[in-house]
């Protein structure tokens, strides 16, 4: 093996040192490129190997810290049920302080576990976790991150601070809401919803920027999951100039089944934004009020295909049996999607028995014709 390596080495030395000056320029360039790329690939492999080694050590180290923290937190959770929160915090705080939480990598693990537990538990456990977080002054780091230029860091900081309900946060976060369209913005709104005890939904009045679908989902999630929010009539915001707020409130009306919003929803059927009209029709369908059917059928002829399809969907949900003739007329519509949907609805209503009570012998014949092949 040694002889073989020496033989290769001699061969390479002869080519790259002894014979190199006698080679034509093209060969010399080619040899130079071979050396360059071979060295680059070797360096790349060494770099990857070193990185993997570092990652392995970091994972090992993180696992040790994770176990240490989870054991302390586990013990803290089951510690004396009759003890006050203050006593539990006093007992466990020194243990955390003895850990190297001044190191960001260790601190990150502890904060991650505190947040995870805080999301999962309520009551005393949740309160103790918050007290430990504040007792270790862990809020100072996300507060610094709020000044970061990276929206991702800002958003993470807002999420962390809001989950831990850090005192005085409402004023701090208000400054970040509606300044620009970025991810931190939506997190700031969600945090305000969770933290503002006086008027949590007041944030819906202040949002000027259009919310993306994701932003609406985040706010929807915050509104339905935050305990202690008095759910108002969301129809209040249906007249908002911000269409994304109108869309969000339409989804909330459907979620909370706010039937008193129906008159406002009917007004929205004339809204200039087609997405708002689609959602208004969808929500009317979800509220399943048969009194809306007439209005939906009235606007149908002048609507776009997407709204027409939604109207059929809404009529299918309401399924009072009063609009059977209308659905039948739709089975001969020029648009394939409409014809198909109308047939499916007729079939579904026939199965559920809605039609039987409202059908005449003549119309049964038409129905069987419409359902031919289904």
């Amino acid at each position: 093996m040694k002889d073989f390596i020496l033989h290769i080495w001699d061969y390479l030395r002869e080519i790259f040192v002894v014979r190199l000056p006698s080679f034509p320029i093209a060969i010399r360039c080619a040899l130079f490129l071979i050396v360059f790329f071979t060295t680059a690939i070797a360096e790349l492999y060494i770099f990857i190997a070193v990185q993997r080694r570092f990652l392995y050590y970091r994972l090992q180290r993180d696992t040790i810290w994770k176990n240490k923290f989870s054991n302390i937190l586990g013990n803290m959770i089951v510690y004396g049920e009759n003890e006050t929160n203050e006593a539990i915090v006093q007992h466990f705080l020194p243990r955390f302080e003895r850990m190297s939480i001044h190191r960001s990598s260790v601190r990150r693990i502890l904060v991650q576990q505190l947040l995870e537990y805080r999301e999962s538990f309520s009551g005393n456990t949740s309160q103790v976790l918050r007290d430990i977080y504040l007792g270790l002054n862990l809020d100072q780091y996300p507060k610094k991150k709020l000044r970061s230029r990276l929206a991702k860091d800002k958003a993470a900081a807002i999420r962390e601070l809001s989950l831990m309900q850090v005192p005085g946060l409402v004023d701090l976060i208000s400054a970040y809401a509606d300044k620009s369209v970025d991810v931190a913005n939506v997190d700031a709104y969600s945090a305000l919803l969770r933290l503002d005890k006086v008027n949590p939904l007041g944030v819906l009045n202040t949002i000027q920027q259009p919310l993306s679908d994701w932003g609406q989902l985040m706010l929807f999630d915050a509104i339905i999951k935050t305990p202690g929010i008095n759910i108002p009539a969301f129809s209040t915001w249906l007249a908002s100039a911000n269409d994304s707020i109108v869309l969000l409130c339409l989804k909330l009306i459907a979620h909370f089944q706010q039937h008193e919003a129906i008159p406002m929803l009917l007004n929205l059927l004339a809204h200039q934004n087609v997405e708002v009209r689609v959602w208004a029709v969808r929500v009317l369908g979800k509220l399943e009020d048969p009194l809306c059917e007439g209005e939906l059928v009235t606007i149908y002829p002048n609507e776009s295909l997407i709204v027409k399809s939604e109207i059929l969907g809404a009529l299918g949900k309401i399924a009072s049996g009063e609009q059977i003739d209308f659905l039948r007329s739709c089975t001969t519509a020029p648009e394939f999607e409409i014809r198909n949907k109308a047939r499916e609805l007729l079939k579904a209503q026939e199965k559920s028995g809605t039609m039987l009570s409202n059908n005449t012998v003549d119309s049964n014949g038409v129905l069987h014709h419409a359902l031919n092949g289904f």
Binding site: S70, N71, L73, G74, N75, I77, S120, F121, G123
Partner: protein
């Protein structure tokens, strides 16, 4: 007669540890599984007095596990408590239809869970 046996199936390691600590402290013999597949293996290998399972898990979800438990003659009477996140009422309804005995919604109070566990184990004992 030994301690009542509880199986906790949860994919979040931290949560699993907290539940294990708490239930052990309450005086139960606690077995853990980090996903639905491991949970099913344990259910098939021994009898439990109570099963606590998360909904969203890799390989086999909580509802599928529940369905398997209810379809097995040996385990069909074992009480099952499901842990779910807030705001997924559809899944809660589906769970009850499949035969879940109780639901605990995250975030939940550990003392409340203890009381519910005690209630089901009293019925068993």
């Amino acid at each position: 007669m030994g301690l009542p046996k509880i199986l906790v199936v949860e994919d979040e390691a931290l949560m699993l540890k907290a539940l294990e600590f708490r239930l052990k402290k309450d005086g139960y013999d606690v077995y853990t599984a980090k996903d639905g597949l491991e949970g099913m293996e344990q259910i098939n290998s021994q009898r439990f007095d109570l099963i606590i399972t998360d909904i969203m898990m890799p390989y086999i979800g909580g509802l599928e596990l529940l369905s398997n438990v209810r379809n097995n003659r040996e385990t069909r009477d074992t009480p099952v408590i499901i842990l779910s996140v807030m705001g997924i009422e559809q899944i809660v309804l589906q769970g009850f239809e499949l035969g879940a005995d109780d639901f605990v919604t995250k975030p939940f109070n550990l003392s409340e869970l203890s009381i519910r566990v005690r209630k089901y184990l009293k019925q068993v004992v």
